[in-house]
C-alpha cells in the first residue's frame, strides 16, 4: 500500500512538472521577442558620446554664454511649462525633428538637455543622440525642470 501511494505521488508530481514545463515553453514562444531583447547585451556608449552632467549654477552660466536649453519631454509637457527660452526636441519625435533642429542650430552650439528631473532618463538619451548627430558640446541638466523651478528661476507657462 505504502509503496503504491509513493508511486502515485511521484507520478502526480511528474505530471505537475510537465504542466509547468509546457507553460514555460508556451510563454517563451509567445514572447520570444521580449526575451531576446532582454538577453541582448546593451551597446556600450563610447566615452566620446558621454554627455557631461551640469548643476544648476553651471546651467545658468552656459545659458548666459549663449548655450541653448533643450527640452527632451513631450511637446505637450513643453507647452504646459518649460525653462524660459528653451526649445522643444521631444525624445519620442527626435528622429523626425532632428534635421530641422540641426538646420536651426549649428554643431558648435552648446546644448544643455533637460527633462523631468532626477529619475527621468530622456535627457540623457537625447543628449547621446545629439552627440552622435555631430554636436560637440552637449550637457545634461540632471535636476531638470523641477530643480530649475524650485530655485525660483524663470519658467514659461502656457499662455
Amino acid at each position: 500500500m505504502k509503496e503504491n501511494a509513493d508511486n502515485s505521488f511521484r507520478r502526480i508530481a511528474l505530471e505537475a512538472i510537465v504542466i509547468a514545463a509546457l507553460g514555460v515553453l508556451l510563454g517563451l514562444s509567445f514572447h520570444y521577442r521580449h526575451v531576446l531583447e532582454a538577453l541582448e547585451p546593451k551597446e556600450a556608449i563610447s566615452p566620446a558620446l558621454y554627455p557631461a552632467p551640469v548643476g544648476l549654477a553651471e546651467m545658468q552660466d552656459l545659458l548666459d554664454q549663449g548655450g541653448v536649453a533643450v527640452d527632451a519631454r513631450s511637446r505637450e509637457a513643453f507647452q504646459e511649462e518649460r525653462i524660459y527660452g528653451a526649445v522643444s526636441l521631444a525624445l519620442g519625435e527626435a528622429r523626425e525633428a532632428l534635421p530641422g533642429f540641426m538646420r536651426r542650430f549649428p554643431p558648435e552650439t552648446v546644448l544643455v538637455v533637460y527633462c523631468g528631473g532626477h529619475g527621468c532618463p530622456d535627457s540623457f538619451d537625447l543628449a547621446v543622440r545629439l552627440l552622435s548627430a555631430g554636436y560637440r558640446d552637449v550637457r545634461v541638466f540632471e535636476g531638470g525642470l523641477p530643480a530649475w523651478r524650485d530655485a525660483g528661476l524663470p519658467v514659461k507657462e502656457e499662455e
Binding site: I12, E15, I19, A20, L26, G27, H31, H34
Partner: protein, 140 residues
C-alpha cells in the same frame, strides 16, 4: 464520496482554476508591466524578471484550464499549491525586508499590500489542498 463533499470538490476546483486562469491571463496581457512589478520585489536580475514575467502567467493559465476542465486535477492542484507556497515565501521575504511592493498578482492594476496578498494566498493554498485531497477520495 457523498454529495456535499462532491460540491466542495467541484467548487474549490472551479474557483481555484478560474482564479488562476484569470490572474494568468491578466499578466500575460502585459508582460512588460509584470516584469516591472517583479523587479520591485528585488529578487532576480533584470533578465530574470523578464523570464519569469513571460513564463509564469502561462503556467498559471495552463493549470487553471486543466482544473476548470476537470482534467489532470491532482497534478494541476499540486502545481498551483506549490506556486502559492512560493508566493507566500516571497511575500514573507518582502515583509521581512521592508520593501514596498504592489502585489501585482492580478495584473499591474492590483495594488494589494503584501499582507492582503498573504491572506489571499492562504485561501488559495486551502483550495488547492481541498481539491487535491477530495480528488483522491473521489477516485476511491
Amino acid at each position: 464520496m457523498n454529495r456535499a463533499l462532491r460540491w466542495v470538490y467541484h467548487g474549490s476546483r472551479l474557483v481555484l482554476g478560474g482564479l488562476f486562469l484569470y490572474a494568468g491571463a491578466l499578466k500575460a496581457g502585459d508582460v512588460t508591466a509584470f516584469a516591472q512589478t517583479i523587479g520591485a520585489y528585488r529578487i532576480f536580475p533584470p533578465a530574470g524578471n523578464i523570464l519569469v514575467a513571460v513564463t509564469l502567467p502561462y503556467v498559471e493559465i495552463l493549470a487553471g484550464i486543466l482544473l476548470v476542465l476537470n482534467a489532470r486535477v491532482r497534478p494541476a492542484a499540486l502545481l498551483l499549491g506549490t506556486l502559492t507556497s512560493v508566493f507566500i515565501l516571497v511575500l514573507l521575504s518582502v515583509i521581512v525586508r521592508g520593501i514596498e511592493v504592489n502585489c501585482g498578482c492580478f495584473g499591474a492594476a492590483d495594488k494589494a499590500s503584501p499582507t492582503t496578498a498573504l491572506a489571499r494566498d492562504a485561501v488559495l493554498l486551502l483550495l488547492a489542498a481541498a481539491t487535491y485531497r477530495l480528488r483522491g477520495q473521489q477516485q476511491g
